[in-house]
Amino acid sequence: MDRHYAALFRFGLSLAGSADAASDLVQQTFFLWAEKGHQLRDPSKAKSWLFTTLYREYLSTYRRMTAHPQVELDDSTGELPAIEPAAFSSIDGASVVAGLQKLDDVFRVPLTLFYLQDLSYKEIADVLGTPIGTVMSRLSRGKEQLRALLSGSDAASGNVLPFDSKKGAA
């Protein structure tokens, strides 16, 4: 549990937008693990199971509370703009979470899992139930949007306001 609960909390925070809602998601995930985890035949899949379960709990519990517009996806990517690492030298966690919150779920979810670095892109595809190529293109598009958000505001210098703590619980 110690190995995964912090990463699961961060994933839940990015999904639901509040520490309270993220904590509930993590608790529910481990609750289900205590009930069903022993049924998992391959222990190496435990990490993916936990992230998948948290994501499904989010979809079934929180996402239905808010109306999400359908987004037409264009999976083709254009040329990425030049990126300068120095622009993100003082970025903090609150800014990244706030930036992720502004992305649509289709980009936010794979991008959060990618930045947590707990899962490979193939494992992310398994968690989301999407083809690997789709994950790659959404990571590319998501990064483009996130960087534009962060570099176009005070976020890159660490001055962005924290995420809305009520989102996801309303």
Partner: protein
């Protein structure tokens, strides 16, 4: 002109390099070596990803979340048939919390603390007994595996001491009749704590916790003192430089016989060796 596939693939490469043995990633990295423009792009991409990743991973969970997880796991094990009601209660709780101004204020402060990463390295304010019961619940629920599986007390104690963890010098005689199945070493506010686990019967466990007396605030008696801690029946006592707590989610009447007589391990071991 960059090749589209290598760029997409390299964009999915974790900045810590843990994907570099992946065949697709490896091929894309090889392609980058032959393409200076792609190589430069990939290096910057990885650096930016690394910074954003480090920032996201610096966000700390709220203090106390671990305990709440364990409480949920305990409910799951005890009342598997009532999962639906428990979860519904939790969801309703989300709304109810918002109605209580004082609680909401605390939650808001906690959220702010999380955002600004001020809750890391917070001392564990729980008494060592409460900490130990929380850890025992983790082991019982299977959320955290024991560090070592062993059925022999002698080798268990040696292993714990090798890890600079206080291990029982003496074993209550009643416990010697139970099936020892493992142990773990833990840290409570930087102080080592040991736990040895026994099967009381097919479904129930008891645990013997050990900690150096200098690491706890209270002075324990050599005579066991019985008290309940977080739903566990516990007996606490000291022997020389080590404090002990025997605990289990069983009535005191079932634990008491386990402490009826204490036998020095070293002596009993010598007796066995020398006939």
């Amino acid at each position: 002109m960059m090749n589209e596939d290598p760029r997409l693939i390299l964009g999915a490469r974790r900045p810590d390099g843990s994907d570099d043995s992946d065949p697709e990633i490896a091929a894309a990295l090889a392609a980058a070596q032959a393409d200076p423009q792609l190589s430069e792009w990939a290096a910057k991409e990885s650096e930016v990803d690394g910074r954003l990743s480090a920032a996201l991973r610096s966000v700390q969970p709220p203090h106390g979340l671990r305990d709440r997880i364990l409480t949920g796991a305990r409910v799951s094990r005890k009342e598997t048939g009532s999962r639906r009601g428990w979860f519904e209660q939790k969801v309703f709780g989300i709304f109810q919390r918002g109605e209580i101004a004082a609680v909401a204020a605390v939650v808001a402060l906690l959220a702010i603390a999380v955002v600004f990463n001020r809750v890391s390295d917070v001392p564990d304010e729980r008494p060592w007994q409460v900490f130990a019961t929380a850890k025992a619940a983790e082991f019982e629920s299977g959320i955290t595996p024991l560090e070592r599986e062993d059925t022999l007390f002698e080798t268990t104690a040696i292993w714990m001491r090798e890890k600079a963890c206080p291990a029982p010098h003496t074993l209550p005689e009643g416990l010697q009749g139970l099936g020892l199945f493992g142990c773990s070493t833990m840290t409570w506010n930087g102080k080592p704590v040991g736990i040895v686990c026994f099967k009381l019967d097919a479904k129930r466990e008891v645990h013997l916790v050990s900690i150096n007396v200098r690491d706890i605030p209270e002075t324990l008696s050599e005579k066991p003192v019985w008290t309940e801690v977080s739903g566990y029946t516990t007996a606490q006592w000291r022997e020389n430089d080590t404090a002990y707590m025997l605990m289990g989610r069983v009535p005191r009447a079932e634990l008491e016989p386990l402490l009826a007589k204490k036998t020095a391990l070293r002596r009993s071991h010598q007796d066995r060796v020398h006939g």
